[in-house]
């Protein structure tokens, strides 16, 4: 008795021709035994991760010297990658939280995967502050823990803001993800058997879906979304202040916070596309995530991409208009200096490539979208690389100017971070419903005896 239904507020084109039973079935199906391709992917990820570990061990043994640091460039690839991953996270929270508040229906099918991406991206980012410091074994000195020395951290330092922002972000988004999972895990629990059942029933913390539970749950979910929303905007603002608070020309910009947040969301969606385009095929859920979703994602990309275009233009304009020789030199060299290639690849990959998305054809063509998403990932990594390295390499004292070239130690850690991220994401996709069962069901009205709408 398959009932074809129109969701109340879904626009044309967004149809889920399924009953609740089928939704459960299909989603639970994604948790079946892993395919060959999946295993290979996982192995790939793990080996990358091992490369990262090996590199890190060498760094701990000898010191950071192996990396390409070349004073005055005291930060380079590690901080770049840190900002990159924090940025990735933002799209997830945007889609799962902000769009939830806006009651935008298309998020439903994709938000679980993006939320998972957020958590693992932030988990990855969280490693870098530890990796990049000179004495990794005492990173905990950045935490305000009572100690016999009576010493506390310096809360005026943006790095401490980071510690709080990142850990808060990780905690809240994890909570958000786990919280959303509970009813779905319960649904899975009731479908599987054996040891898996016992695991899922433990992790579904006794969810039954009673009216009372739903009553509190939906409320709480709303508040979590409401709390996560300012968090999205704040976290990357805080990260941007790492630079904006500094006096380095090219860092010291007032537009940094919005500029970084836009960039973060932009890069995040790029990563979302990169992830779910293959994923939906792999997990055979094309009928739940289809062109309609990608069209919306693409529009979001276009919006944030255009904001970036504006931000870039503004940076150069302000540098020129300020009449500040330091700013001017920095931005001149960013475009025509020794690192021109990085500068331009950032501008082209981010500001220009995203403009292609004005065309519906490109928006709805998964191949082109996938290619663009790759460009976005590269472009956004370079954006951070340029902002950090090129600004540092030529600041106030010309005598100190110098260039840096990344080394195997830099690339090793970078690859490792991708491995670490990929590993967790893949494991998650096989263990938990990557599509939100109960929210999809919420969009499919339950069958009625009298038919039609109530």
């Amino acid at each position: 008795m398959a009932v074809v239904a129109q969701p109340h507020d879904a626009p044309e084109g967004h149809v889920i021709n399924q009953t609740h039973a089928e939704v459960t079935r299909d989603v639970v199906a994604t948790l079946g035994p892993p395919t060959r391709g999946y295993v290979l992917l996982l192995l790939g990820a793990v080996s990358l991760f091992l490369i990262g570990i090996a590199t890190f061990l060498v760094l701990i043994k000898d010191g950071l010297g192996h990396a390409g640091y070349n004073p005055p460039v005291f930060w380079s690839v590690y901080i770049t990658t840190f900002v990159f991953w924090v940025g990735i996270g933002h799209a997830g929270t945007l889609i799962s939280a902000i769009l939830f508040l806006f009651r935008s229906p298309w998020r439903t099918a994709v938000y679980r995967s993006t939320e998972a991406m957020t958590v693992f991206a932030v988990m990855t980012a969280g490693l870098f502050p530890i990796i990049h410091i000179g004495r990794q074994w005492i990173f905990y000195w950045l935490l305000p823990y009572p100690n016999e020395r009576y010493l506390w951290p310096n809360f005026k330092s943006p790095l401490i803001w980071d510690v709080f922002a990142i850990s808060t972000y990780l905690t809240v988004s994890t909570t958000f993800l786990v919280f959303g999972l509970i009813p779905d895990v319960a649904a899975v629990r009731d479908k599987v058997s054996g040891w898996r059942k016992s695991i899922y029933s433990w992790s579904s913390v006794g969810w039954k879906g009673t009216d009372n539970q739903w009553r509190h749950y939906s409320r709480a979910y709303l508040y979590l979304a409401a709390l996560a929303t300012p968090l999205v905007l704040s976290v990357h603002s805080v990260v941007s202040w790492d630079f904006a608070v500094g006096i380095v020309p090219g860092w010291h910009g007032t537009i940094f916070a919005p500029y970084f947040v836009a960039g973060a969301i932009y890069s995040g969606i790029g990563m979302v596309l990169t992830l779910i385009i293959p994923l939906r095929r792999a997990l055979k859920i094309e009928h739940m995530i289809h062109s309609y979703h990608f069209d919306n994602l693409a529009k979001l990309t276009l919006l944030t991409g255009s904001i970036l275009l504006y931000a870039y233009a503004m940076e150069y304009f302000v540098a020129w208009y300020s009449g500040n020789t330091f700013e001017q030199t920095t931005f001149y060299r960013r475009a025509f200096g020794p690192m021109w290639w990085a500068g331009w690849s950032m501008i082209i990959c981010n500001a220009f490539v995203s403009q292609l998305l004005w065309f519906r054809k490109i928006r709805t063509n998964l191949t082109s979208l996938f290619v663009i998403s790759i460009f976005i990932n590269i472009g956004m990594w370079f954006e951070r690389y340029v902002i950090i390295v090129s600004s540092l390499s030529n600041d106030y004292i010309p005598w100190a100017w110098d260039q840096m070239n990344p080394t195997w130690a830099d690339w090793g850690i970078l690859l490792g971070s991708f491995g670490w991220f990929g590993m967790w994401f893949l494991l998650f996709a096989k263990t938990f419903p990557i599509v939100a069962i109960q929210e999809i069901k919420e969009m499919i009205p339950m069958p009625r005896r009298r038919g039609g709408h109530g």
């Binding site: 000898d62 004073p71 005291f74 410091i133 004495r135 310096n154 106030y396």
Partner: protein, 1001 residues
């Protein structure tokens, strides 16, 4: 911090070596909580050593022939720093980089551990001193008078002993040193009939012309010269003596000149004589002058213009200015301008000074500076060696196998000697050829004295137990004499110390000193006996003195370029190449460290299509060398130059195989001296590239006002830097509106208030510094001093290639002008160190308060709190913070070099940020002393290492809150400015703008 600093040595050796020790002493203060498990007391407590308290001894520097006085700082029985002896007339408390690095000679890992003899298998093997002396005596006996000795020892008791000793044997003795200024001596003989070298008083000179003499850096008595130059040229008497530099290459002295004229190599004499001629013709000759007139008339400015490539007008102007200023000073000589005609140049300059009436005014004969006899004296000895007339050859404090070009065939000739003995402390090129090595004590380990100039008797005393099983060569000679008896029976002093004291008995007698003990102790305390030099002799032209010549320079070979080589600023004739401080400390001109380079003029570089770092092969008739290019505007387009001092084949792990030896391009010296500019070379690209290990980033200021300067009249008018700018007609550089300015002002006032809230009230001192750029010559003595005082690790060539040098204080050298052709290029030096800002941008960004502000206004850096985020370094606008990327502390001080470490300063572990602390250990030390004496600190109680070393006294340190202090007054000086003041960092260092003479004045 987790890592041990270089292990606290195996303690037994420390005992045996230093004879004393105590807990904190051996525990070289490193960033480590690792326990020192043993406490080893003195066996016998020496009266003048209190653990934890420094003991100072005076001594004399032997790193070059100048003979500066030393104050040696010792802690727990080991020397930890060398400083100048304020009472010493030559250097008056200052010391150059080379002198300070003497400490690394003392603790050099390459030192010979004891006497060695060449075994049957050709290897050296350790022997006992008795055995060694027996062997030497055994060889000397049969050798009879077939003995040859080469000694680089300065004039003094030892030299006298040595010559007596050799004379007694009937052997040959040559006092040889690479840079012996033979041409100067010869010219003085020729022109004035005086066989001595005059002292130059740059302090009184109103106008200075240097004919290629690097008197500020590698020349004789550079410290004394720098002091004088600072007085005459440093705006200290509110005036500036103009200095003109005439040479094909601009060395450090040239960079300090107001004008540099790149004349053709070898043409100096023509110019000097033409100037003299002009002076005579225009001023009318008096007395002896008339005699000269005829001799000089041939040398017209036109001819000189022809030779030098200078316009006639310039020459005339030079002559007029030179004549107008009374007294003026012209100087010549030095390795940098030592071509075949060097003696003619010196003679011509003598004439010039004579004509200008500078003799006796700024040119002081009678001082009789000590130099070795040089190559001229060596020649007969070499001939004897070659003829096989030498059975025993002894080399002392000289390394001719390296400092003579291969073509001289020294090695081959030396090999012909039956038995070759070296007393060198290191296994250098010469001692490697020897059969018997009798390493002598380092100057800091032995009794001795020097007479570097008339009236100066400078003492050396052992400041510590010998590090190795070495022996003072004086004792060696005496003990050998005892062992031999016979002709040497006369040498019966029980020890060299007794011999020395006996000699000083005589000195005491001549000075009518009755109580010798008192005299001796006084001398030891003062560092010697210093009397005024004997009155300058009446100097008049020697009979044939007026007959000056100028021979057109000829350069061997047919290459397109003249090849010039010169004394390396730090490595000197190569003796510095085994000391990491001197290798790591950049050359003050090129700012290149650790390796050799070829200087090429930009035009030439364009012709050859080469860039910095491209490796060129220079080929002369005598050989070829390969070195990376350094494109340098300060060199004549037809000349390429390579510094001396590198390319050792022996001389320890630091020197061996590093760089190239420029001497390989030179021919066998014919005359009495070694002409360093004597060949032409052809140049070809090898296609290889080497990134220069240079500490220079961008050498242009880009109008950022880092090294400010103002014109002389502006300075005389007492204008501030900004006023001077406006006076020059520049527009007011102000981008803020009135309202904005008000806001900024209010903001900074608010910040001042905040800092007060942080109890920074006036009752604390506020440590500050003033640096006078008009005085700073960029010699970098401060840099070496900082390395020595603050345990700064040397990181080596590759790390410097990555910009990771740790120079807490660095001399930035910015080029001015020289952009469009014809425009002269000049250099502005600015010492850059932590500015200890009140609103330090580095402080608030540190997450753990490792960078914070101390109540006495220092920008504190707590190493053991630092986790190494490096945010502070990013946020430091002056880029004066340095990071330990690797475990530098474990590689920088191979044993026994780590004994030089200053126990008062923490050795930084890896992963930690470090920077200039204004020598906080000295501040705290002074505060402790003041507290013990129940008094307040006085101005001058604290002198930072850099300020202490600065030869021209450009750096002044003190309490800015104390209005009486010198630094506070300098902070009010109208020339004062702060670097990047617009950032409102409120830095504690005030720079005094350099004073420039108008281009054509």
């Amino acid at each position: 911090m987790t890592e041990e600093s270089k292990p606290t040595i195996d303690r037994r050796r420390f005992l045996t070596v230093l004879g004393a020790s105590s807990g904190g002493a051996i525990a070289l203060s490193g960033c480590s909580t690792g326990q020192v498990e043993k406490l080893i007391p003195y066996l016998v407590q020496s009266e003048d050593q209190v653990p934890g308290v420094a003991t100072w001894y005076s001594s004399t520097c032997t790193e070059c022939s100048t003979g500066c006085g030393l104050h040696v700082r010792t802690r727990e029985g080991r020397a930890v720093k060398l400083e100048g002896n304020p009472e010493h007339p030559v250097n008056q408390g200052k010391l150059c980089s080379r002198g300070q690095a003497g400490l690394q000679g003392l603790y050099n890992p390459g030192r010979l551990k004891g006497p060695m003899a060449r075994a049957a298998n050709g290897q050296f093997q350790e022997i006992t001193w008795d055995d060694a002396i027996a062997r030497l005596a055994g060889k000397l006996g049969p050798a009879g008078n077939k003995v040859a000795v080469i000694s680089g020892a300065g004039r003094g008791t030892f030299s006298d002993l040595l010559s007596d000793w050799v004379r007694a044997l009937g052997g040959r003795l040559a006092r040889y040193e690479a840079f012996a200024s033979e041409p100067l001596r010869a010219a003085n003989r020729q022109v004035f009939g005086l066989d001595q070298i005059a002292a130059h008083d740059f302090g009184r000179a109103k106008y200075i012309v240097s004919f290629g003499t690097d008197f500020l850096d590698t020349g004789l008595a550079s410290i004394e010269h720098a002091r004088g130059f600072a007085r005459s040229h440093g705006f200290s008497e509110r005036d500036v003596a103009k200095m003109v530099y005439l040479a094909p290459r601009m060395d450090l002295t040239g960079l300090n000149a107001d004008q540099w004229h790149p004349i053709k190599p070898g043409s100096e004499a023509a110019l000097a004589l033409a100037m003299a001629n002009l002076l005579l013709t225009e001023r009318g000759a008096r007395g002896e002058g008339a005699a000269l007139r005829g001799a000089l008339s041939a040398f017209t400015p036109e001819a000189a213009a022809q030779e030098t490539g200078l316009p006639v007008a310039t020459i005339q102007q030079l002559a007029r200015e030179f004549g107008a200023a009374r007294p003026s000073l012209a100087v010549a000589g030095g390795a940098g301008s030592q071509h075949a005609g060097a003696t003619e140049v010196c003679a011509a300059v003598n004439i010039l000074n004579y004509v200008a009436g500078n003799i006796g005014e700024t040119v002081r004969f009678g001082a009789d500076l000590d130099t070795s006899d040089g190559y001229g004296a060596l020649q007969p000895l070499l001939a004897a060696l070659d003829a096989g007339q030498v059975d025993v050859a002894l080399v002392h404090e000289a390394n001719p196998a390296y400092t003579l070009p291969r073509t001289s065939g020294f090695a081959a000739k030396f090999q012909k000697a039956g038995f070759k003995v070296s007393t060198s402390m290191y296994l250098d090129e010469t001692s490697a050829l020897c059969d018997l090595l009798l390493p002598q004590h380092h100057a800091l380990e032995r009794w001795d004295d020097l007479r570097p100039r008339a009236g100066v008797h400078s003492l050396m005393q052992p400041v510590m137990e010998p590090v190795f099983n070495t022996m003072a060569t004086g004792d060696l000679l005496l003990r050998t004499a005892k062992a031999m008896g016979g002709t040497l029976a006369g040498f019966n002093a029980s020890s060299y110390k007794d011999h020395l004291q006996a000699r000083w008995q005589g000195l005491a007698a001549t000075r009518k000193e009755t109580d010798f003990a008192a005299f001796w102790h006084g001398a030891l305390q003062r560092g010697g006996v210093f009397t005024d030099p004997p009155a300058a002799p009446r100097v008049s032209l020697a009979p044939r003195g007026g007959q000056v010549r100028y021979t057109k320079p000829v350069f061997e070979g047919d290459g397109p370029f003249v090849f010039a080589t010169y004394a390396h600023s730090l490595l000197h004739d190569g003796r510095g190449a085994n000391k990491p401080w001197l290798l790591e400390n950049a050359d003050p001109v090129t700012k290149i460290t650790w390796h050799s380079w070829v200087e090429v003029h930009p035009d030439t570089a364009r012709k050859l299509d080469v860039r910095d770092g491209e490796i060129l092969r220079l080929t002369s008739p005598h050989g070829s060398i390969e070195a990376p290019v350094f494109v340098y505007q300060g060199i004549h387009p037809d000349v390429v130059a390579v510094p001396l001092g590198l390319g050792h084949t022996e001389y320890g792990s630091y020197a061996r195989g590093r760089g190239v030896n420029a001497l390989d391009l030179l021919g066998a010296p014919a005359g009495d001296f070694l002409p360093y500019i004597s060949t032409r070379v052809s140049v070809e690209k090898t296609g290889d590239y080497k990134s220069l290990a240079s500490i220079a980033g961008n050498s242009r200021q880009l109008g950022r006002g880092i090294a400010e300067a103002m014109s002389l009249d502006a300075a005389k008018k007492g204008l501030t830097v900004e006023q001077a700018y406006l006076a020059e007609g520049h527009g007011k550089h102000e981008i803020n509106t009135e309202l904005e300015l008000e806001a900024i002002k209010g903001w900074s006032e608010r910040q001042i208030q905040d800092t007060k809230d942080g109890n920074y009230t006036g009752d604390h001192p506020r440590w500050g510094m003033a640096i006078d750029l008009a005085k700073c010559t960029g010699c970098q003595a401060c840099v070496t001093a900082c390395y020595a005082e603050n345990n700064i690790p040397t990181v080596g060539e590759t790390e410097i290639g990555k910009g990771r040098e740790m120079t807490w204080i660095r001399i930035e050298r910015y080029w001015e002008g020289g952009e469009e052709p014809g425009q002269p290029v000049t250099a502005h030096f600015v010492p850059m160190l932590c500015q200890h800002c009140s609103n330090a941008p580095c402080e608030p960004v540190c997450p753990v308060y490792a960078a914070y502000h101390t109540p006495d206004g220092l920008n504190g850096q707590v190493y053991n709190r630092c986790v190494g985020t490096r945010y502070c370094a990013n946020n430091c606008p002056y880029k004066v913070r340095y990071f330990n990327w690797y475990k530098y502390n474990q590689v920088a001080w191979p044993e026994p070099l780590h004994l030089q470490l200053n126990p008062d300063v923490t050795v930084r572990a890896r992963g930690v940020m470090e920077k200039c602390t204004f020598c906080i250990q000295r501040i705290r030390g002074a505060q402790n002393d003041a507290r013990l004496e129940n008094r307040v600190m006085r101005d001058g109680d604290v002198v930072t290492a850099c300020a202490q070393a600065c030869p021209s006294d450009a750096i002044v340190f003190g309490d800015v809150n104390d209005p009486a202090s010198r630094v506070a007054r300098l902070h009010q000086d109208h020339r004062g400015y702060r670097v990047l003041e617009d950032l409102n960092t409120r830095s504690a260092i005030t720079y005094l703008a350099k004073v420039l003479l108008p281009a054509e004045a």
